[in-house]
């Protein structure tokens, strides 16, 4: 009887969204434990911060100040360019690009299935309007997307998970590709690129915004190796994610703006409810 129930549950979980609430309910029970387990790791981080020597803090402070100066000057330039861009787009009667809303979340240090690349974050339905498929980025690039949103925590699939595919384009020339996770740390694979594709080692890959999950233009990965073997139908291209997938403690949740497209119609509006 229980076996039958398990099989039904698995089928429902795999094919549809009905058992989401069951999972969310159990996740509420598990959350305190996950929180407790991640306390020692957080405590270590905290002691490291508190016990840091004065010199190292001063060094860090100076570094950050310098970086802040540099970023600030770049930001001024960027504001100007953004205004110009908006103006030009208005002239072209094209759609406006609107900034995205973000929320900072913290990772809980707990392990999940060792054969998949997933993380748990400490934000859930209670905190904000999180949704399934919501993109997750850190300061350096795209990290992944949410797969399960529970009341107090959520699970995200990283871009290196073998079940994850990320639509990207080469920043240099706009060549589109799909970056699929390999399951091993820090390695993506670009699939179905012809042998004569214009792609080189060191090319920056940014999200293309196709697929309606990730907003366009976020840096995703850098090409690590291009192997064009004429006897194979496609080139073997591997890339390395730019985000600190295994080191980041804080991540940003992004709400992609939905008003980027002309005429007010948004072909991506379906994605918010349905994308797994």
């Amino acid at each position: 009887m229980l076996a039958l129930l398990s099989v039904t549950l698995m089928t429902l979980d795999h094919r549809s969204d009905y058992v989401r609430h069951v999972r969310a309910g159990i996740a509420v029970i598990v959350y305190p434990l996950q929180y407790l387990v991640s306390v020692p790791a957080n405590f270590l981080d905290w002691t490291e911060d508190t016990l840091a020597s004065r010199e190292s803090l001063q060094d860090q402070n100076a570094d950050l100040r310098r970086e802040n100066q540099a970023l600030r000057s770049q930001l001024h330039k960027l504001t100007f360019i953004e205004a110009e861009n908006r103006h030009l787009r208005e002239l072209l009667q094209s759609s406006k690009r609107i900034g995205e809303r973000v929320l900072i979340a913290e990772l809980l240090s707990v392990d999940l299935d060792p054969y998949r690349r997933q993380v748990v974050i400490n934000k859930g339905e209670q905190d904000d309007l999180l949704y399934r498929g919501q993109p997750l980025v850190d300061a350096y690039g795209v990290m992944g997307k949410l797969v399960h949103v529970n009341p107090f925590s959520s699970t995200a699939m990283l871009i290196t998970d073998p079940n994850h595919a990320l639509p990207v384009q080469v920043n240099r020339n706009g060549l589109r590709a799909v970056a699929v996770g390999t399951g091993s740390e820090g390695l993506l694979e670009l699939q179905h690129l012809p042998n004569n594709a214009d792609i080189e080692v060191g090319d920056l890959l940014v999200t293309s915004g196709l697929g309606c999950v990730f907003p366009a233009g976020y840096p995703a990965a850098r090409v690590l190796e291009v192997d064009t073997n004429p006897s194979l139908p496609f080139a073997r291209v591997t890339a390395e994610p730019l985000a600190n997938l295994d080191r980041s403690r804080e991540v940003l949740l992004v709400w992609p703006s939905t008003e980027n497209l002309p005429g007010g119609t948004n072909p991506c509006s379906f994605a918010v409810e349905e994308t797994p």
Binding site: L2, A3, L5, S6, V7, T8, L9, M10, L12, D13, H14, V19, V22, R23, I26, A27, I29, V30, L33, Q34, L36, V37, S38, A41, S109, V110, D111, L112, D113, P114, Y115, R116, Q118, V120, V147, H148, T155, P162, N163, G183, E185
Partner: protein, 162 residues
Amino acid sequence: MNLTHHHGGWLIVFTFVLALALSIIPLPHILELLRPEWMALVLIYWCMAVPSRVGVTIGWLVGLLQDVSRDALLGQYALAFALVAFLTLHLHQRLRVFPIWQQALSVGVLIMLECLVVLWIKGLTGQSPGFWKIMLPAVTSLLFWPLIYLLLRHVRRTYNVS
């Protein structure tokens, strides 16, 4: 009598909570692949020691917890753990009189079955990590069984769980 009955119940719950904590505690990647199936080990012990209280239903519920904590397909570990509990209930009288190394071997086989069920389900949903890799927890669980057994037996005798 009724009082000790209740007392024991909380102790069983506590050991399961501890096992769940052990199975989500962060480890380096290499050790992560070798992590014993703590939940299954504790489940097997209680099924063997107090078969009247811990059985297939408890196993199924515990498996469901494991599913959510590992973010697996809901029901995957539940099915595997229910199977393990069922087999242990069938074998508990024989397991009790085995010497400890023989017990460990049987437990290894049970955990291997559990891993196999999980592997099948993963294979069906298209995310198979490979046979030998997924059998590693069975081997480490086998090695950890004597420890778990002696510890839980001590706990059971001290607090008179029955």
